[in-house]
Symmetry: C2
Subunit: 677 residues, 2 copies
Amino acid sequence: MHDPSRQHRAPGFPSPSVREAASMYGTAVAVFLVILVAALQGSVPPENPFPYRIFLDPQGTLELSWNVSYVQEAVYFQLFVRGLKAGLLFGMSDRGELENADLVVLWTNGNSAYFADAWSDRKGQIHLDTQQDYQLLQAQGTPDGLSLLFKRPFGTCDPKDYFIEDGTVHLVYGILEQPFSSLEAINTSGLQTGLQRVQLLKPELPVPTMPADMRTMEIRAPNVLIPGQETTYWCYISELPPGFPRHHIVMYEPIVTKGNEALVHHMEIFQCAGGFESFPHFSGPCDSRMKPNRLNYCRHVLAAWALGAKAFYYPEEAGLPFGGAGSSRFLLLEVHYHNPLKIQGRRDSSGIRLYYTATLRHFDAGILELGLVYTPVMAIPPREPAFVLTGYCTDKCTQLALPAAGIHIFASQLHTHLTGRKVVTVLARDGRELEVVNRDNHYSPHFQEIRMLKKVVSVLPGDVLITSCTYNTEDRKLATVGGFGILEEMCVNYAHYYPQTQLELCKSAVDAGFLQKYFHLVNRFNSEEVCTCPQASVPQQFASVPWNSFSRDVLAALYGFAPISMHCNKSSAVRFQGEWDLQPLPEIISTLEEPTPQCPASQAQHPAGPIVLSIGHGRHWSPEPLPPKAAPLRWILEEVMDSALFSHVSETLAAREAEGDGRALGLPDTGSAAASP
Amino acid sequence: MHDPSRQHRAPGFPSPSVREAASMYGTAVAVFLVILVAALQGSVPPENPFPYRIFLDPQGTLELSWNVSYVQEAVYFQLFVRGLKAGLLFGMSDRGELENADLVVLWTNGNSAYFADAWSDRKGQIHLDTQQDYQLLQAQGTPDGLSLLFKRPFGTCDPKDYFIEDGTVHLVYGILEQPFSSLEAINTSGLQTGLQRVQLLKPELPVPTMPADMRTMEIRAPNVLIPGQETTYWCYISELPPGFPRHHIVMYEPIVTKGNEALVHHMEIFQCAGGFESFPHFSGPCDSRMKPNRLNYCRHVLAAWALGAKAFYYPEEAGLPFGGAGSSRFLLLEVHYHNPLKIQGRRDSSGIRLYYTATLRHFDAGILELGLVYTPVMAIPPREPAFVLTGYCTDKCTQLALPAAGIHIFASQLHTHLTGRKVVTVLARDGRELEVVNRDNHYSPHFQEIRMLKKVVSVLPGDVLITSCTYNTEDRKLATVGGFGILEEMCVNYAHYYPQTQLELCKSAVDAGFLQKYFHLVNRFNSEEVCTCPQASVPQQFASVPWNSFSRDVLAALYGFAPISMHCNKSSAVRFQGEWDLQPLPEIISTLEEPTPQCPASQAQHPAGPIVLSIGHGRHWSPEPLPPKAAPLRWILEEVMDSALFSHVSETLAAREAEGDGRALGLPDTGSAAASP
């Protein structure tokens, strides 16, 4: 393998400080790198090539657009870098850490610039991947910056690579402010880095026909002065016109104030409870002491948007009812501002635009809450990297509450508190797991969006829905019990479905009597430490458990064995009739397998090492940004590869002449995709 | 993908019965298939190309030779088929089952013959692999049969493929007696099938220099009449000459009577205990009522061989001491005859040839027993597919018993009784697992051989050795407890090492008091079923546990938590001095990962479908075997591939003219490898 550190370096080349380097190299690389067209194996879809777009950093200098090809099982990325310094890292990691990350690296050693598929080790040091799975399709300079176009298969056969799957993906980036003698010389710990969460694999769904009488309503908090602090939840009460009749929401989309795209993290509209005459108008931080208590009764989700999400469409046959008798006219808009740079004085009027119709669709849509009851009997021991709790919606409940033709889940919002790391809901029938309703193996409590399902899941009477959440409590000293508090935990899947039924809540918790047997048993084993007297509360009991592998494993064994108490409810307080205590756990005789990466057949065709972009003609690095119309430069592109097997790839790379103003010249096939935004 | 079932079939072609087909097609395919040279990507090593050889079937019609290329991470197979009928299956599966197997299939539909990489589903039906990872290098007919040469990477990216790893591999085969219209028409359930266990990945070790004064001694049971039953263990006592002084065994090898290669399954030589003046001479079945009881004192392993193994060499610096004062002159040879066809009247004089020297080497070699103490406190619940028990050799014991420079383990023999499925021993230092001493993920109690380690493992004072065994008790109704009985279980690794120390045994078991806590606890949870009174034995207590997921999980939790009782012994009865009860479990803060398949970079170069061998010139199938010198035939070889990507492979295949006598003609590169045995 070619080692870039062996590249020739000009004698006496000074070793610049970070600050010097930043000014020395400035936008130099951005201007120097003009054109690179590598082996274009799969061409980019011609129309609307990059429908999804976010800023990676709060300054808005890294703009990522992407598209998904489910046929090729690959993601196409277009990364636009404003004011490129000496390079950058971009990639993915399990939970957004810069260690153990799967990265593309664009870097320079002062003489040449390189593009490579790399990975960072546990200490943040960068290494070249043995297999180059990020395929560079195009690099294009503009007066503003640099645009890189590259693709990545969902799965590769490289053990150092991230497997792109459904759900949240933690994108990471790092800014190189100075040249590095080699890839291995880079360590992420010294860089300006960050992360952004997105759902990369957006479902490919046809846009439903919109009704002719569709109207819109904008719910936004006008002219908010974004506080100069990292996290703000802004609460704003708005109100439907008096006498506003029953309508169906058929779609909604975000309205983000221009310039604030990197600050507005997520937004939700809640409908307030129907029982109150009115709600006080309020516009302020949700944690403000000035916030009226009554706003706590605004909890029914009408719409939710998070960063990277696009418009949300209801299926053509269903709409979300709002307005009309018995429903509150009051709506609460909650906007989460994420302002890590603590920018001051920024004004914002972001919100959500609802599209609704008076011509009610065939079905009302509803929301069914699956998972665990909010109760301390379900607890997570401390110091656990991945403890799993499971909540059931049993066959007995679905048998009683669902119509014979079943219900159709088309969207889902997963929910836990701070220690949640994974969430999955699976549908089982006759003891066999049939399909996944929604799975997020990289779930983050900081990124909860309503997600359309790739495929509508139909649930029949007698089916079982199993929702499992995986928690990380490594930083906690005491057990984390279930409950409403932010330091307590939840495991919930809000399933959006139609036709609406009376069933609002289908959740479970371990039987409380069996939990007492557990405390007894731990006492017996450890010689009396947990009070099993009647006055001790369950959280107190959990707090006094002596945690070790035995008490942990036995708690897990209890949750996997003991009977459950079911909440099969019409509303949060009203149960369906029947015996719901001491119910047996659903018996599952066959389980679904976790998805695993499929290796692309074409992997061997990729280059084996970094792609080099030499800057020819002996030009020196300029401390000044080059003028937009500089003298012509000659670009030498070469593949650094030690294997003859891949030589056909290098043959497709050619030296080119281009104007220094950075206009793209003669790009085959992907001209339209290459236009910078 | 080309579907072989769409191949043209002669109109009115009769559908022959199995018996008819057997006579109709007889050796026809063997004679017709003469030459096929496919893309020879990696050529076979030139010298001694197939050092390992076994018969797959008890009749000796399928003879497999193989070689391993650790550089290519691939196995080269040469399969010689005597009297080929209408084709065969050959492959690998987890434990030798014909369902869920990874197979190569050679079959004919009456018109053409095919070779393909395929897999069998849970019902035994054969399907084509999407990726063809068995690469056919050559097919060659001889008057006796057909020789196939093909290679397979250790790991592929095909999820239907078996991952070839260290330890036991279960090879499977099936005989096709009649043509099949398509691959999918084949089901393994209707075929004559079988399995053979081998260690495919033999270590590549240099042969040590042999001493100049080396002598040999053959230990064999002369002229045994092999009983006409499936399983016989034959016991034979032989004796060293009186006054035979201390020697070092430096090597040994099997002597298998010619013609009995498929019957002699494994052989072991045990040295009898030193305390007895003499042992009665005996030659007969080991389970015979005539066998003298004293032979039970012949347990010290001197040599062990199993099917497929070659000569065993001690490292140059060590030898196994035998002879001399204090050691018994009496040796017990045990030969396991595996005779599933119940062949009668066969005579056998197989045994083991010892190579020894009077010039003692620098070190005595020794055997250290690792794993679990033979005690019922270690038990496996019934109905478990994969329950793990772990035995420890603690830091305290190695600190006390090992020399400062440590010991060097160079070979290992794993041992369990009937329910053992996997065994692994790992070395840990300072709480971190460092390396695997020996791992067998497809361990079979029916295939226990002493295996040379690929790499000598050095164990220092203070190191920990962790031996884990995985058991399958799905067919048992009661718990399986530890013990000597064949229906009880063991978990042992006999580690062969030097320099010999006093430490003979370093094993553990859960503390008996903590096990009583477990029985109490299960009673508490299930309302009193296990007698915890003093007169109840541990096997009785285990027999009365009400087994469910809770009692199972809590037992596993107990074994993972409770303190252990250590056997750190000089001999099976004499402990090293110290406190060995209520010892803490070794704390392991980082564990090794299981090996995973590395995908070969060249995978995309393989054909995408079966290889067809058409039989040209309108010749009809002959019910008679063709005479050895038939008229010239024309061979048409074509690749069935629907992808242009792979067309370069098909270009390397060509139509050839060849003599009907089946001599290999003009084979490039692999001529020497192609010679039939």
